[in-house]
């Protein structure tokens, strides 16, 4: 069971994240507890082409900058538990709002699939989405689905499989900040890289430190301590 790939589901509230989760796992969900956290995450199993995938349903959030417990849980899972693939579910009828979280996640981790859900609803409202252009701009696969009609699932499942197995590589578009911030990132990044090695994106950690994210700093401290203690 432990050698199966782990797929995390992230997204804003009310994007049909749980509908997708239940459709993929066939409602076979149970809850799991994570080290150091009392918040439980729904977990389920997905069988695709004879392989098991563990799906983890993260709390729905608008952001992932640890303004709340939910955001902290979602952030810690993506950054420290390192799922093989992070599926970001976005609402086709409200892309502008939803892509905020997607961009934040693209800064944190590499293996991301953007899943545009509620396509049926968007089409009813006359919204059309050019997912190829989005794929090019974002540097990760963008797939249109409708979780309640199970539309778009074959392509989604194949993409999950290919990404988990390393057959396709993501190159998330990198946001460039202004000169001052980029200069500070450049001076912080090597120091961060020494500490976190290549397990976490040092650019992302540097950015969060510049933003004064104390919750992340505490989390890093406690995790590094644990590691030293067991080493």
């Amino acid at each position: 069971m432990n050698d199966s790939y782990r797929i995390a589901l992230a997204g804003n509230p009310n994007t049909g994240k749980s509908t997708l989760f239940n459709a993929l796992t066939g409602l076979k969900q149970h809850t799991g507890n994570w080290a150091g956290k009392t918040v439980s995450l729904a977990e389920g199993t997905l069988l695709h082409k004879g392989k098991n995938y563990r799906m983890i349903d993260l709390p729905g959030t608008y952001s992932i900058f640890s303004n709340s417990r939910d955001e902290e849980v979602a952030r810690n899972y993506i950054v420290f538990e390192k799922p093989d693939v992070t599926l970001v579910v976005v609402d086709a009828t409200s892309l502008e709002r939803n892509l905020n979280l997607a961009l934040q996640i693209l800064e944190m981790t590499q293996n991301v699939i953007i899943c545009i859900n509620l396509m049926d609803e968007a089409e009813k409202r006359g919204i059309s989405i050019n997912e190829r252009l989005l794929t090019r701009r974002l540097g990760v696969p963008v797939i249109k689905i409708s979780a309640r009609n199970k539309a778009g699932f074959p392509l989604l499942l194949d993409t999950i499989e290919r990404l988990a197995e390393g057959k396709i590589k993501c190159e998330p578009a990198r946001l460039t900040y202004d000169k001052d911030i980029e200069a500070k990132i450049a001076s912080l990044e090597p120091l961060v890289a020494d500490l976190v090695e290549d397990r976490i994106s040092s650019r992302w950690v540097a950015l969060r430190l510049l933003d004064g994210d104390e919750s992340l700093l505490d989390e890093l401290k406690s995790r590094l301590k644990v590691k030293e203690g067991t080493a």
Partner: protein, 83 residues
């Protein structure tokens, strides 16, 4: 647009469209507002005021969000022409 068009979100009237120019808010609250769609350049519609004028409901990025005076009075924007 001339200066007279500059108002805070708090000063908006029902039905006004205001394009955000700046925010005098720092830290976690600033981050929160940005995440909710209160970003410079965004057009916000004043939907409804509470009986006592606080909080005020705004429509931003296709969602309705209510802000208290503490925040809405620190967000500046340009009042756009009525349709």
């Amino acid at each position: 647009m001339d200066k007279t068009n500059c108002i805070t979100l708090y000063e908006g009237k029902n039905g006004d469209f205001i394009q955000i120019t700046s925010m005098d808010i720092e830290g976690v609250m600033r981050r929160r507002l940005l995440d909710l769609g209160f970003v410079p350049g965004a057009v916000v519609e004043v939907i409804r005021k509470s009986p006592l004028g606080d909080p005020i409901a705004f429509r931003v990025s296709q969602t309705t969000i209510a802000l208290r005076r503490e925040e809405s009075s620190k967000i500046q924007g340009e009042l756009m022409k009525h349709e």
